[in-house]
């Protein structure tokens, strides 16, 4: 592979940042569902599964949309990879925090 054919880092940054945002959405919707009374019932998209169906489906939809948009913007560019990789990792970890019961119970 020559340097002429090397891909720019934008595609990787877009995928990572979108993944971080998708993870954050899982955590955010989990917390919102506990904190705001109408959110849980509004996310009850598949009755036997309950609000989990809406929370996770919506998070996946947002993740995919963000990914498509970012990829379109960045795919042929070099971006500040270190910065976006760090932000992505932080968002990923915030996503996990948002699903942690002792955390979201603070807002109940």
């Amino acid at each position: 592979m020559t340097s002429d054919t090397l891909l720019k880092n934008g595609r990787a940054a877009a995928a990572l940042l979108a993944g971080g945002i998708g993870s954050l959405m899982v955590g955010l919707l989990t917390t919102l569902s506990e904190a705001v009374e109408f959110v849980g019932p509004a996310l009850n998209w598949v009755k036997p599964v309950g609000p989990l169906s809406g929370k996770t489906t919506l998070a996946v939809i947002i993740w995919l949309i963000v990914w498509v948009v970012l990829n379109k913007q960045w795919k042929d560019r070099d971006v500040e990879f270190d910065k976006f990789a760090l932000i992505s990792l932080i968002l990923l970890l915030f996503g996990i925090l948002g699903t942690f019961p002792p955390f979201f119970e603070i807002f109940m």
Binding site: M1, R11, A12, V26, L52, L93, I96, G98, T99
Partner: protein
């Protein structure tokens, strides 16, 4: 010795996919970590990339299969509401756990965390699979991307491990029969 239909699904969801996920994670992580110029010849790189593609794609597919079967097949049996007046709650694990004060935390903490955190694993694993498939051999020249992928890979594993371990404990406390 009998395994019910629901238990079979529990085994597929937790044991078959869970063990495969662990295998794919180990293979993928080692392949990704060792993707360094000093470790590889041109011929070795081709072979390594092929193998890495299989591991990371496998991990992402297994992660999706695990959360989808867990959420849409096993979980509805777990959370089903017993009919009014039911005294034997063994077919209703969630209600059974909540009815026993010493076991209620398995639902309130265990299942509440498991059912949500598990969904972070396939998202992170898909990101890793996409970047590996897209960049291929170029990754050997991209230490920053490799490092970011390893971080995502490890977080994907931690999310799945938390969900898997809690699932095993919850199944012990109140199995889906």
């Amino acid at each position: 010795m009998e395994i019910t239909f629901r238990e079979w699904w529990g085994i597929i969801h937790g044991l078959a996919f869970g063990a495969s996920y662990l295998l794919a994670f180990t293979g993928g992580l080692l392949s990704l970590y060792s993707l360094k110029p000093e470790f590889l010849t041109a011929e070795g790189l081709k072979e390594r990339i092929k193998r890495l593609n299989i591991w990371v794609t496998g991990m992402a597919v297994i992660a999706w299969a695990t959360v989808i079967t867990g959420t849409y097949i096993v979980y509805p049996w777990y959370r089903a509401t017993p009919p009014e007046g039911t005294t034997d709650l063994s077919d209703y694990p969630r209600s059974l756990l909540l009815s026993i004060p010493e076991k209620a935390e398995w639902h309130k903490f265990g299942m509440e965390w498991k059912e949500h955190v598990a969904w972070i694993a396939p998202i992170a694993a898909t990101v890793v699979a996409y970047v590996v498939m897209t960049y291929g051999p170029q990754l050997v020249k991209e230490p920053k991307i490799r490092k970011a992928l390893i971080n995502f890979f490890v977080v994907a594993f931690i999310a799945a491990a938390v969900a898997g371990m809690l699932g095993a404990f919850i199944t012990k406390a109140a199995p889906v029969l």
